[in-house]
């Protein structure tokens, strides 16, 4: 199904670009604005998801899938159901980025960062929509958790893609190296619980980039 992309967060883009606070010049700001609009126009946001019952051992009912690591299990504790989702910006973004890199590396870099922010926006919009629906049923949605966060193995991305049949449903496949293509794609898990759960996985501590994060090197946080 179609996803919703309605904005690109400028600050997020600036952070991806390596701005560590301080003044930003007018040209860069204007260029980010122009390129953000291009990203929104070019993207073909698409989302696919499925809802599963969760068995006691955290196995997703009707599959052999058990999310790995303790962090995700902590998040899903007490949830009777969970949502598997995948969202992508589509192939045109991928193609365009490739072409801009040939003629204009400066714009290509900004384009890449805008697209990274854009895919987060698509995920957020989907999550909000779903949360609204779930709340109406008197239920609550947990955070969004992706393979590679915390101690959940990155490799489980492959299982999620297989179960969601992302290749068929949203045109996302994996390279032999395990990278999702188009690259601006996110897979994630959300729990559905009958009581509100503390939104836990914000901040650096649960991030697999903890050791090498550029933001942290500069004593900043990525704001997640």
């Amino acid at each position: 199904m179609k996803g919703t992309l309605n904005s690109v967060n400028r600050n997020e883009v600036l952070k991806y670009l390596g701005y560590k606070g301080g003044a930003t010049d007018e040209k860069t700001i204007n260029d980010i604005q122009r390129i953000s609009e291009d990203v929104i126009k070019t993207a073909q946001p698409a989302v696919t998801y499925m809802v599963f019952d969760i068995e006691d051992n955290f196995c997703f009912s009707g599959t052999n899938f058990i999310p790995g690591g303790n962090d995700i299990k902590k998040m899903l504790e007490g949830c009777k159901k969970a949502v598997l989702m995948a969202a992508t910006l589509g192939m045109e973004i991928e193609k365009k980025l490739r072409a801009i890199q040939i003629t204009d590396m400066y714009s290509a870099l900004i384009f890449d960062c805008c697209a990274s922010s854009a895919i987060e926006n698509v995920c957020d919009n989907f999550q909000n929509e779903l949360e609204e629906k779930v709340n109406k049923q008197g239920l609550f949605l947990t955070d969004r958790f992706s393979p590679g966060y915390g101690d959940m193995p990155f490799e489980q991305q492959k299982d999620i893609c297989t179960m969601l049949r992302t290749e068929k449903n949203i045109g996302v496949s994996l390279s032999s190296g395990g990278i999702m293509i188009p690259r601006k794609t996110v897979t994630a898990i959300m729990g559905i619980s009958d009581k509100p759960k503390e939104k836990r996985f914000r901040g650096c501590e649960s991030c697999s980039m903890f050791e090498n994060c550029e933001y942290r090197k500069g004593d900043k946080s990525c704001g997640r």
């Binding site: 670009l17 390596g18 701005y19 560590k20 301080g22 010049d25 860069t28 260029d31 696919t48 998801y49 499925m50 809802v51 009707g62 599959t63 052999n64 899938f65 589509g90 192939m91 045109e92 991928e94 193609k95 980025l97 490739r98 072409a99 890199q101 040939i102 003629t103 204009d104 590396m105 400066y106 290509a108 870099l109 900004i110 890449d112 990155f154 490799e155 299982d159 297989t162 179960m163 290749e167 068929k168 949203i170 045109g171 496949s173 994996l174 390279s175 032999s176 190296g177 395990g178 990278i179 293509i181 188009p182 690259r183 697999s208 050791e211 090498n212 550029e214």
Partner: protein, 799 residues
């Protein structure tokens, strides 16, 4: 079997041909878990599969698809299943089910599961091999037909169809999966699919999966207008519900909806996800009484890439700039394998308004066949225009046609028997269009009549080989008017005849007309205009020349193609009289004053930098400009970046500006023939398994601006390639990048292999997940945290 195949052909053309419905849906009903490989059941519990096929045959399916959809090498990897065992078992299940009936068995082939180049990393050649393995086993196991389905990448279908046609004698149906906008996920349109697959010899084309019958209908209608082949449709049972995982259309509604297909003569049909034998049974019942025929397809001349279809129903410009003849800089790029330069020439022409790009890479000292493959792959990775494969070497032509993802033009054959007999069969095999030059072994005839006679001969030969008339273009040949003045009129006369009497499209290389004359532009555009008026619709020109494109743009208004002069107005509004170039220019001093090149670089002013470089070349040598002006300017930018006064975008912008200066300098050196300004060669590569290359590309731009020659090996580069290139090119510095924790191992492997080779190069590594410690651990000489750090290390290495 021959009987069955003949009957199949007849059924597809005359009557209805009913296919089966979903296999996956039936298997889920039988207890298959999500994520499990359905192919395994053929071996573990064959009776379940046979029973499903049997139910379909009983419901009226005349072809059942064996349970081989994902039985390819890639998808079965790590499952313990083998391709031959699975296919043999699956075909056996299907054959058991059809025994004693008239039904046939299809080898069902779905997507490999990994995306091909350029977006993915799987090569076209590997995809071909994966499919070849399947089709050969499938034919041996006794399949009657091969079906490629649920495809979204036209390139992948092309690999499959070629594998099937070259290695089996079975008929082949190809169906792709479209979204409601009429395109697949990779951007392929139905019209492009029809043009390419019909040309490659598919026996039927169609649409399956993703949407219900009502949503697919408008797309199928478009397809039926774009091909004369039988059209095949297998729709889903409506749309899926993500919560219940079920589809929303019942069997009788599905059948009702399939009637609209029968009414426009689409007669090869079945069902996809969510459909069951009941659906097929209802469809058969509902559509059989409908006797309507397909409307006659009006044949058009179509050239395409997957996402861009160019219909030749007006003047379409063929860009001529990808050609080394007489272009030193282009020759250098070919010699050095500098694909970025060539990619830029493609994008530049596309932006200038070219509709098709001519690709010629023939020059002494270059393996034309290999270079053709490399260049076609490069161009189609950044530009979606259809290509014209231009060579006199049949092997290079075939290589280009094979690797091009789309329908191309071949440039060219002429009236010589040898040319006709070697090149036309290649044109036919790959479903291309072809240019016939109106000349033969006796040279270019001096009258229009004689040229027309050759054109007619080429047309006859082409049609006798099964090439469609609309795919034959004639080049009546432009001769230089300053040498043979009377010939201009003869050419125009021939062009008119070819258009009006033969009904063929005309191609002409235009610019040759003005060779040797001053102010060539006037003669060229005037001849072009007259030729278009006479019937030239495919001019081969330089679209970067404004006057030439102005002429085309104006012609389109007068011919009525540019409705309401919209494009003309868009092009010319805001065009003011060309200003006379300033004569009172201040002398550039090269320092950071507001007129100097240093300032232009620091502000990222590309055009200004290039202009200033040209000025400076009058008084300084190339090396002086680089060492005294450009590099110090870049160093100052680099320092400001380190101090975080500016950030990555500005750094890159400055580099891009200085890149313009380097282009000017390179051309100046080539013109003088005074050698090179290269400070040394550096290899850059994103390691095997990783495809995140933007960081590496940034480093490349910056290094080039310090005068280093970068050999860019691209992304997903095997360690062997890095080692081989390092030794062959005797490279002193190798830069490796990796962005993922999962690909750090490949980086280590590459470093190890470089060290083991004994080649004494230095190695610098970088990428988001790398650290100083890790770099040390894997034995790299330097960890570069950014592009600036890489340059610093390069300076150290090269001194």
């Amino acid at each position: 079997m021959a009987d069955k195949v003949n009957r199949l052909d007849k059924l597809m053309k005359d009557g209805f041909l009913f296919l089966d419905g979903a296999m996956g849906t039936m298997l889920q009903k039988a207890g298959l878990k999500l994520g499990e490989r359905p192919e395994a059941i053929c071996i573990e519990k064959p009776e379940i599969i046979t029973d499903i096929h049997r139910q379909y045959v009983e419901a009226g399916s005349q072809i059942v698809y064996a349970n081989t959809f994902g039985a390819n090498r890639h998808k079965l990897e790590g499952t313990g299943l083998e391709v031959d065992k699975v296919i043999e078992a699956a075909v056996k299940c299907a054959k058991n089910a059809v025994e004693g009936t008239n039904a046939m068995v299809a080898l069902d082939i779905g997507p490999i599961g990994e995306l091909l180049e350029p977006s993915g990393t799987l090569s076209f050649e590997s995809a071909y091999d994966i499919f070849k393995e399947m089709v050969v086993i499938g034919e041996k196991a006794g399949c009657d037909i091969i079906v490629f389905e649920t495809m979204t990448d036209l390139y992948e279908v092309k690999a499959g169809l070629l594998a099937a046609k070259e290695n089996t004698s079975l008929p082949v149906i190809c169906t792709m999966t479209f979204e409601e906008n009429g395109r697949t996920f990779t951007g392929c349109s139905v019209e492009a699919m029809a043009a390419v697959l019909e040309g490659l010899g598919a026996d039927g084309v169609g649409i399956n999966c993703s949407l219900g019958p009502d949503e697919i209908f408008p797309i199928a209608k478009r397809l039926a207008m774009a091909t004369t082949l039988p059209v095949v449709v297998k729709a889903n049972a409506g749309l899926p519900d993500p919560i219940t995982n079920t589809y929303d259309i019942t069997a009788d509604k599905f059948a009702e909806s399939m009637k609209q297909y029968a009414k426009i003569g689409i007669r090869v049909m079945g069902g996809c996800c969510g459909t069951t034998p009941e659906y097929i049974k209802e469809v058969v019942k509902a559509v059989l009484p409908i006797k309507n025929e397909r409307a006659k397809v009006e044949r058009k001349t179509v050239l395409c890439s997957p996402s861009k279809v160019v219909t030749v129903d007006g003047v379409r410009v063929i860009g001529e700039r990808i050609n080394p003849t007489g272009k030193k800089r282009f020759q250098q790029a070919l010699r050095e394998g500098d694909m970025a330069y060539i990619a830029e020439r493609a994008i530049e022409q596309a932006e200038a308004g070219a509709d098709i790009l001519d690709v010629n890479v023939g020059m002494p000292g270059i393996n034309e066949k290999e270079m053709m493959i490399k260049v076609v792959k490069t161009i189609q990775s950044v530009c979606d225009l259809p290509l014209q494969i231009d060579s006199s070497d049949p092997e290079a032509i075939e290589a280009g046609l094979r690797i091009f993802n789309g329908k191309a033009i071949v440039n060219s054959v002429n009236g010589e028997d040898e040319k006709i007999n070697t090149i036309l069969p290649i044109v036919k095999k790959y479903g291309a269009s072809v240019i016939g030059l109106a000349m033969d072994e006796n040279g270019i005839p001096d009258t229009a009549e004689k040229r027309i006679a050759i054109a007619e001969r080429i047309l006859d030969k082409a049609m006798s080989m099964g090439i469609n008339k609309e795919d034959v273009f004639i080049d009546c040949l432009t001769l230089t008017v300053s040498a043979q003045q009377e010939q201009a009129v003869e050419t125009l006369k021939a062009v008119r005849y070819v258009k009006e009497k033969l009904g063929l499209h005309n191609v002409l290389g235009v610019s040759n007309i003005s060779f040797g004359l001053p102010a060539r532009e006037y003669i060229t555009t005037n001849f072009l205009t007259q030729a278009m008026y006479a019937g030239l619709d495919l001019p081969i020109i330089n679209p970067n020349q404004q006057a030439v494109m102005d002429a085309v743009c104006s012609y389109r208004v007068l011919s009525g193609e540019d409705v309401n002069s919209e494009k003309y107005i868009e092009r010319f509004s805001g065009r003011t009289e060309q200003k006379v170039v300033q004569t009172t220019e201040k002398k550039s001093n090269g320092a950071d004053s507001e007129t100097g090149i240093g300032y232009a670089v620091s502000k990222g002013l590309k055009e200004e930098t290039a202009r200033l470089t040209k000025e400076l070349l009058k008084e300084k040598t190339e090396l002086e400009i680089i060492n005294e002006l450009l590099i110090p300017a870049l160093d100052r930018v680099g320092e400001r970046y380190e101090k975080q006064e500016i950030f990555l975008p500005q750094l890159i912008n400055s580099a891009a500006a200085s890149c313009e200066a380097f282009e000017v300098i390179k051309k100046s050196i080539l013109a003088k023939g005074t050698g090179s300004v290269s400070k040394g060669k550096i290899i850059l590569a994103t390691v095997k398994g990783d495809i995140h290359d933007i960081g590496k590309n940034i480093v490349k731009v910056i290094l080039e601006n310090y005068g280093y020659q970068v050999i860019d090996l691209g992304r997903d580069v095997p360690p062997e390639t890095v080692v081989e290139t390092a030794i062959k090119e005797d490279v002193k510095l190798v830069g490796l990048s990796a962005l993922m924790t999962t690909t750090l191992n490949s980086m280590k492997e590459t470093v190890d292999m470089l060290r083991a080779s004994g080649h004494g190069c230095k190695i610098v590594v970088g990428g988001a997940v790398l650290t100083e410690e890790y770099a040390k651990m894997i034995g790299a000489d330097c960890y570069a945290k950014d592009a600036k750090a890489t340059v610093d290390f390069a300076k150290e290495v090269f001194g």
